[in-house]
């Protein structure tokens, strides 16, 4: 597989072109906005939280295949997880995308592992991370627009 194919795996293409949970959530408990000043991409994340558990997650916005796929897979991955578990997933995902699969000990990232190819494309790591930074902000209820810079 070429590096291109490793980055743009079928699952990435699928989530990039028709993302899951791509809608607003009315009366969401938490919302946060993310922005990548490098390319202008932006997304708004919505969470519904009951007793520390993320019961629903969705997003809207504009972005490349990588950032949309990442946001789409993220919303799938955090639904039903506690806030701490979601934060731990971000830590694992961050490790995987910045350090690569070899250093990363697989601990249940599941479908999110298709984004590991991004390590070979340093300029694109921010695309993969944007939605997660936004999630982190939503979990902390910071209320400020997060930026990848």
């Amino acid at each position: 597989m070429t590096e291109m194919d490793e980055l743009y795996q079928e699952l990435v293409m699928a989530h990039g072109s028709s993302p899951s949970n791509f809608h607003e959530i009315e009366n969401a408990d938490r919302t946060a906005e993310g922005f990548n000043p490098f390319c202008g991409d932006q997304l708004t994340l919505y969470l519904r939280i009951e007793n520390d558990v993320i019961t629903d997650a969705a997003f809207v916005g504009k972005g490349c295949a990588i950032s949309k796929a990442s946001a789409s897979l993220m919303t799938e991955a955090v639904k039903g997880k506690t806030m701490d578990e979601a934060q731990a997933k971000f830590t694992a995902f961050h490790k995987m995308t910045t350090r690569g699969m070899e250093e990363y000990e697989a601990d249940g990232l599941g479908d999110l592992e298709v984004l590991a190819g991004v390590t070979q494309f340093p300029t694109r790591i921010k695309c993969a991370i944007l939605s997660w930074r936004t999630l982190e902000s939503a979990l902390k209820a910071e209320g400020e627009k997060v930026s990848t810079e």
Binding site: T2, M13, G16, S17, S18, F38, C39, G40, C64, T123
Partner: protein, 417 residues
């Protein structure tokens, strides 16, 4: 005309490979590559006469001062400035515009005055004027665009009015390639007594630019887009205005006499060049101007127009992309922005990069323009003297591959989900 293949030999970087493939450098609007004589000028300075300017009695300092001021003369002549002192060295276009905004802008733009910019300005010619407008309680007006990406001047008299103090606009748009009607806008500004700032960042590198003929009051430009090193640029100011302007930064070099409680200012242009300047890069910018002058700016523009025409024709054949900006090369520089409604420019840019084709993707520091066009980003190829038709062919063919790759990928993905 010149032989592009001969020119290419003057640029060491064009011989290199990226991912094992010959580099196709089409990001010239971001920064140009440097010819050997520019790189040599830097080496010569540091190896042979490195010293500070304007203050030493020794031989090296005199040599450095001569070369440094000679470079200013060359640049002034290159842009048609009547006097060398009317060119102030800065880091780049951004610094030139900020210098102007913080000196002339603050002293001359008063509450109720109007500043006019356009919808296609780079952030560097938009944000500093937002600040001046806020601080001075002035009004910032933005001339809109037509669908073709030219200025919509149908209602120009409602933008440029007797309240206008400054009309600031790009000569060539970095995001669309549009060449703006400088003389028409300058005439309008003159009629209401407003000053004109021309952002020459994209025009000075690629076409003959003469500030006297264009009749602008100010022009900002960058060295690094015209074969000089990064970190050096210029601000041209009409002499009578410059003589009235307060200093920008204060310190060494810019003073004549200093007492405990006050100081007087040095002659122009030193008055605006506090501290040890960027000597090496200024001298190298002189070398870049020599190189461009040897080619002849008419020839540079001719090559660029021909290649742009060729690229527009070839790229128009690709159905999946929309080309932005005017299609008439008489009003277009060598800047080729495009986009596809389904595939993000970032994804296209990554695909092209892996084939060693360097383009720019993103908002190109023109977010207000992107917003007006309903886009967040575009892909942009930009040409220069050393680019060839073969390189344009390569761009077109790899772009087609990329569109197929992502288009098929999305289709396949939709079926599988």
């Amino acid at each position: 005309m010149f032989d592009v293949n001969e020119i290419r030999k003057d640029f060491p970087i064009l011989q290199r490979e990226v991912y094992g493939k010959p580099l196709v450098y089409l990001d010239n609007a971001a920064t140009s590559q440097k010819p050997r004589i520019v790189i040599q000028a830097l080496t010569d300075y540091y190896e042979q006469y490195n010293s500070n300017v304007h203050r030493g009695v020794h031989a090296l300092s005199m040599e450095a001062t001569d070369k440094y001021e000679e470079a200013r003369h060359k640049v002034a002549k290159f842009i048609g400035a009547p006097k060398a002192e009317s060119v102030i060295w800065t880091r780049n276009t951004t610094e030139s515009i900020n210098l102007l905004a913080m000196t002339w802008g603050r002293d001359n733009i008063l509450p109720g005055d109007e500043i006019v910019v356009t919808q296609m300005e780079h952030h560097s010619n938009h944000v500093p004027w937002q600040k001046v407008a806020q601080d001075q309680q002035a009004v910032l007006k933005v001339i809109p665009l037509t669908k073709e990406g030219t200025l919509d001047v149908s209602d120009i008299d409602s933008y440029i009015t007797p309240k206008t103090k400054l009309v600031a606009f790009c000569h060539v748009s970095n995001s669309l390639g549009t060449i703006n009607p400088v003389k028409m806008l300058t005439k309008k500004a003159r009629a209401v007594g407003a000053k004109v700032l021309l952002d020459g960042a994209q025009s000075v590198p690629q076409m003959p630019v003469n500030v006297k003929e264009l009749d602008c009051d100010f022009m900002a430009f960058s060295g690094h887009k015209m074969m000089a090193p990064t970190g050096i640029g210029g601000l041209y100011v009409k002499m009578d205005i410059l003589e009235e302007m307060e200093p920008f930064m204060r310190g060494g070099e810019m003073v004549l006499e200093v007492w405990n409680d006050r100081a007087t200012w040095n002659d122009l242009p030193m008055k605006f060049e506090a501290g040890t300047p960027n000597i090496a890069d200024a001298i190298a910018m002189g070398a870049a101007v020599d190189y461009l002058s040897d080619l002849g700016m008419d020839n540079v523009r001719k090559h660029e127009a021909q290649l742009t025409e060729y690229a527009l024709t070839e790229m128009q054949k690709i159905e999946e992309i929309d080309l932005l900006g005017p299609m008439d090369v008489d009003i277009r520089g060598g800047i080729l922005p495009f986009h596809n409604s389904e595939i993000h420019p970032h994804d296209l840019g990554t695909f092209l990069d892996r084939e060693a084709i360097a383009i720019r993707t993103g908002h190109h520091c023109t977010m207000p323009l992107m917003r007006a066009m309903g886009l967040v980003a575009t892909a942009r190829a930009s040409l220069y003297v050393y680019n060839t038709e073969e390189e344009v062919d390569k761009l077109v063919s790899v772009l087609k591959d990329a569109l197929r790759y992502f288009g098929d990928g999305a289709k396949r993905a939709k079926r599988t989900r």
